[in-house]
């Protein structure tokens, strides 16, 4: 039977916790009692097994799994908390009273939209005349005859023209880029009257209007719409000419329905 104190000293010796005196005392005891020595050797052998047991190596992907699980979860929680705050905010503000007001507002909006749509006729989608806002067009815009676009690739002038005949108006939309000064001339009979001009892309121009002629002089890039009144609603033809430095560059007689 080994004394309890010496079992403690044996363990202390294994753990390196004994003082020098305790170590000597143990040594003397072990030298005296072979049974105690055997027991001590066994204990030492057991602890040496720990030293001989290799450490396990975790799989290489474990690190990534750990990092990903931590920081993805963190991101999710942040997103969740933002979502939760928004929900909480809605919960605070969305009372039954507000719900009724909100629904009433939506219904009123739908009704107003329906009434407005009924009063104001839809414009013909193929003939969007939005760019004519500000001009003095009137009458039925649904019945439009369009001539063009007429494209110009002249020596010093490029661009296009589009002529529209409404029920009582003739609209000439012109887009021209001229290197030198040019004159754009509209010739018509007495049943056509110049009504107005709207400049879309502003440029320096001069205009001359006589009974049967409307002339615009300009240089550079210009975009404008010339509006004529078709007094008898007869859709007459219009003479369209472009001059540069006194020379005629382009001439065309515009006849609605012939393009």
């Amino acid at each position: 039977m080994i004394e309890e104190r010496f079992i403690e000293l044996m363990n202390g010796e294994i753990d390196g916790a004994n003082s020098r005196e305790e170590s000597l005392e143990l040594k003397r005891y072990l030298d005296t009692y072979p049974e105690a020595k055997r027991y001590y050797e066994d204990l030492k052998a057991v602890t040496q097994m720990f030293d001989q047991a290799e450490e396990l190596t975790p799989p290489p992907y474990l690190r990534k799994t750990i990092i990903t699980s931590i920081f993805e979860r963190e991101g999710e929680e942040e997103r969740k908390s933002v979502f939760t705050s928004v929900l909480a905010g809605l919960r605070l503000t969305f009372s039954r009273r507000y719900a009724y007001s909100f629904t009433a507002g939506i219904i009123a909006g739908i009704l107003l939209f329906a009434i407005f749509s009924w009063i104001v006729p839809w414009r013909h989608p193929a003939e969007d005349l939005d760019n004519l806002l500000g001009t003095i067009t009137s009458g039925n815009l649904r019945e439009i005859t369009t001539v063009g676009p007429i494209d110009f690739h002249l020596p010093s002038v490029t661009g296009s023209a589009r002529i529209r005949y409404t029920e009582d108006r003739i609209l000439a939309a012109i887009q021209l880029s001229a290197e030198s000064e040019i004159q754009v001339l509209f010739q018509h009979d007495e049943n056509v009257r110049f009504e107005g001009l709207r400049s879309i892309k502003s440029c320096n121009h001069e205009m001359r209007v006589t009974g049967e002629e409307t002339e615009l002089s300009h240089i550079g890039i210009c975009e404008y719409i010339v509006v004529f009144e078709d007094v008898h609603r007869s859709h007459p033809h219009i003479g369209f000419k472009i001059f540069a430095d006194g020379s005629l560059l382009f001439e065309r007689s515009i006849v609605p329905g012939q393009e």
């Binding site: 030293d51 001989q52 047991a53 474990l62």
Partner: protein
């Protein structure tokens, strides 16, 4: 305190430093490679989540080991309950290659450790695999140093008896 992006780097360094140790502690406690991976992952997650509760006057590894030991113990308890519920559960004697490649000594020791009660097993693991002092073991397990010694000495004796019974000779 929450880890910012900069802290992520710091935490990655912690993972790099302790991953292997934590994994080994978990494995020696539960004796299952896959479970040890789960425990390691959970331990780091809990450490990250509860970093506020870490008291810097204590050693960081003691705190991390404590989380690991608790997580391993929870895992063992859960497993015990599951096995009780399902008596037909097969004991998986097959170990991954990483483990079977290890020495006969390592496997014998692990087998003997698993025969010990948890209280003895854990002090032996922390003392001999992780070289913790009596005091450090006491910190990890929240027990007095005296109890650590007592469990350690008894654990060694029990381990010796088991190994002798197995016919192991040095």
């Amino acid at each position: 305190m929450k880890f910012s992006k900069d802290d992520r780097k710091a935490f990655e360094r912690i993972v790099d430093k302790y991953e292997k140790t934590i994994f080994n502690i978990a494995f020696r406690i539960v004796n299952d490679y896959e479970d040890a991976m789960d425990i390691t992952q959970t331990a780091f997650m809990k450490a990250y989540e509860n970093i506020d509760s870490y008291n810097p006057s204590h050693k960081f590894f003691s705190w991390l080991y404590k989380i690991t030991v608790n997580e391993s113990l929870n895992h063992l308890n859960k497993k015990k309950r599951t096995e009780k519920l399902d008596n037909n559960v097969a004991i998986n004697l097959e170990s991954p290659e990483e483990y079977t490649a290890h020495s006969e000594i390592s496997r014998r020791l692990q087998y003997a450790l698993m025969k010990l009660k948890f209280d003895y097993r854990i002090v032996l693991i922390l003392r001999h695999f992780n070289s913790l002092s009596y005091r450090e073991i006491g910190d990890v397990l929240d027990i007095p140093e005296k109890t650590v010694k007592s469990r350690l000495f008894t654990g060694r004796q029990l381990l010796r008896d088991i190994l002798i019974k197995q016919g192991y000779k040095q």
